[in-house]
Symmetry: C2
Subunit: 355 residues, 2 copies
């Protein structure tokens, strides 16, 4: 068993999620919203599901400076010094490099789960079992473990991981080497993928120990790694933010997938099935949400529906909403914005938001 | 010509208009709303169209106490002492009795137009011509003149006036005796009415001089008339409101139509055509409003429509609204309420409001 005291959770929470506008806005994006109406926001649910796996003082959040107050407010149990603030957006590689060096400065034996802040997991118990198993694996050696989701449909909205199922790890028979990472496929390709057993959805959740991370960075992204290694003396001091504000923008804008995962040798996938969803669209949200007998998913305290089917209604608590005669529509409102559109046209939302 | 100095306008503004919910609410009903997005509310447009016919100091508003502040704010040109406040709702007969005795106490030669506060008139010039003609008629004698609108469709939402076209008044050939008042008909009856020339829509606009009013009240509604005649000594004094609060609730709840118009002898109708509408429904509103090429009527500063036809959108100024894929719907929002429904189902709005 992994020693829980060295387990760390890194939540990447810098996204500006535009697909759920107007519920999600640049001022308060998706990860900070109670999308499903459960009483907990996405980032809160993310922390919740690691309870018992990672101690609260080992939870780290990397986010944009503009979201600092929201994070502190929504996650009071996370120490303020564990909320790392990016002065600008540089994709995931600089984000992970910063937090990895920062954690290493405090806990050289740290073992990390890196996770997005806005995903859904419905089977929390199975999730904990899988993550604990993966942490156990990475604690014992130099490995990057990605969690691969067993696909249930030819989804074109996710990337895929191709596993080499022929040779499971000797240390853990449910861990396999990655053959390749696949970009989001078109429908035809996705259909081919799901017919074969070795393809899994890329959940964006990685498990590795801190030495594996910094060594990988030194090899594959040395110019990024140097920036954060150089700052070792000032981590945890009052100068940290000031120096980060100067140094962070110098980083190349690159994802951890391109910078490391697709290049490194010790890349593994642990297939899993814990009701995962990267809720990227209103359509996927309505699939997961509780629905009434007419197939409507409603978030809001005072919503009355008449002659209405297959609609997704998302409104703020205090608002009274009466809807009659709508079919397969999105009705979402927040602050001073109201959106009504057909679910089938939701890919246009981003354009409307920017119009 | 009538002497303009004795012309008075009485605006009845006590209605709580529930058919336009949520745009119209008991806190701020229809007459105080800029329904058409012109920058003027219904009651303001009502005053506007009498400009040049009635002096501002002769404009009277009878409304509920709860709307006193709204009236003063929307009609700053009307003297505060001309805003008469009903302590409770008693229909139109007590309302008109109060204001008639009140005006008579100041101007025994007063000549009055009594008008609702929430109607539409599109041809203001013709309106002024007709009203001036009617005032001229009632100044010269004991007559109650109703304005009868030439019907353009078999409307079942209006009452009708049957005129005796065979004998125009000797004093004014465009004024006729009323044969009878007709309640809102069903469609079949309405179709019969409009095939015959002697039926007109009852606009609810009456013209009569103040002595005709008080004499009619004394004859046909003596118990109401006495209440307000008794108060003659205190009109215009600081005691007025206090006494009205005590006496007004004693009045019978009855409309001026039942109390007087249907009983009196000297009842006339002046047929007219000045683009009148008693905008009782969203459907009639969309008929009158300016529409885009897709037949949408939009009130709101920041509304974007895509693939949307025949819709009525009414929103507050500061709100951003994006609508895609709606047909023949009402989208209305105000304060913390949002209504979306099919135009064909608008008769259910009142139920939803009360639900």
């Amino acid at each position: 068993m992994a020693s829980r005291g060295h387990n760390h959770l890194v939540i990447m929470a810098g996204g500006v999620g535009s697909r759920f506008w107007p519920m999600s806005t640049p001022e308060c994006p998706k990860q900070f919203i109670d999308v499903l109406g459960t009483g907990r926001t996405f980032i809160q649910m993310t922390v919740d599901r690691f309870r018992g796996v990672v101690e609260p003082e080992n939870v780290w959040v990397v986010t944009s400076q503009r979201y600092a107050d929201i994070v502190r407010q929504q996650l009071p149990e996370v120490p303020a010094s564990n909320v790392l603030l990016e002065p600008c957006r540089r994709n995931t590689a600089p984000c992970i490099a910063y937090v990895a060096w920062r954690i290493k400065s405090m806990d050289p034996k740290a073992n990390l789960v890196v996770a997005p802040s806005d995903h859904i997991v419905t089977d929390r118990e199975e999730f904990r079992r899988v993550v604990t198993d993966a942490l156990d694996f990475t604690q014992q050696g130099d490995a990057i473990v990605t969690l691969g989701m067993k696909p249930t449909r030819p989804e074109t909205g996710y990337g895929y991981i191709q596993a080499d199922l022929s040779s499971p790890s000797l240390r853990n028979k449910s861990v396999f080497r990655v053959d390749s990472f696949k970009e989001k496929p078109d429908l035809k390709l996705a259909q081919q993928y799901i017919r074969r057993k070795e393809y899994f959805w890329n959940s964006g959740i990685f498990v590795w120990n801190v030495n594996t991370i910094v060594n990988s960075l030194r090899i594959y992204a040395p110019e990024i790694s140097e920036i954060f290694e150089k700052l070792l003396p000032i981590y945890g001091t009052p100068q940290e933010q000031e120096r980060i504000n100067v140094e962070f923008p110098k980083c190349k804008n690159i994802s951890i997938d391109y910078a490391i995962l697709e290049k490194a040798d010790e890349i593994f996938v642990m297939p899993a099935d814990f009701g995962w969803s990267d809720l990227g669209t209103w359509g996927s949200l309505i699939t997961l949400a509780n629905k009434d007998a007419q197939g409507n998913a409603v978030v809001g305290q005072n919503v009355s529906l008449y002659d209405t089917n297959g609609c997704m209604v998302h409104t703020t608590e205090e608002r009274r909403v009466v809807i009659q005669g709508l079919k397969n529509c999105i009705v979402a409102e927040k602050d001073n914005t109201l959106l009504i559109c057909q679910l089938s046209e939701e890919q246009r939302i981003k354009d409307w938001m920017e119009a």
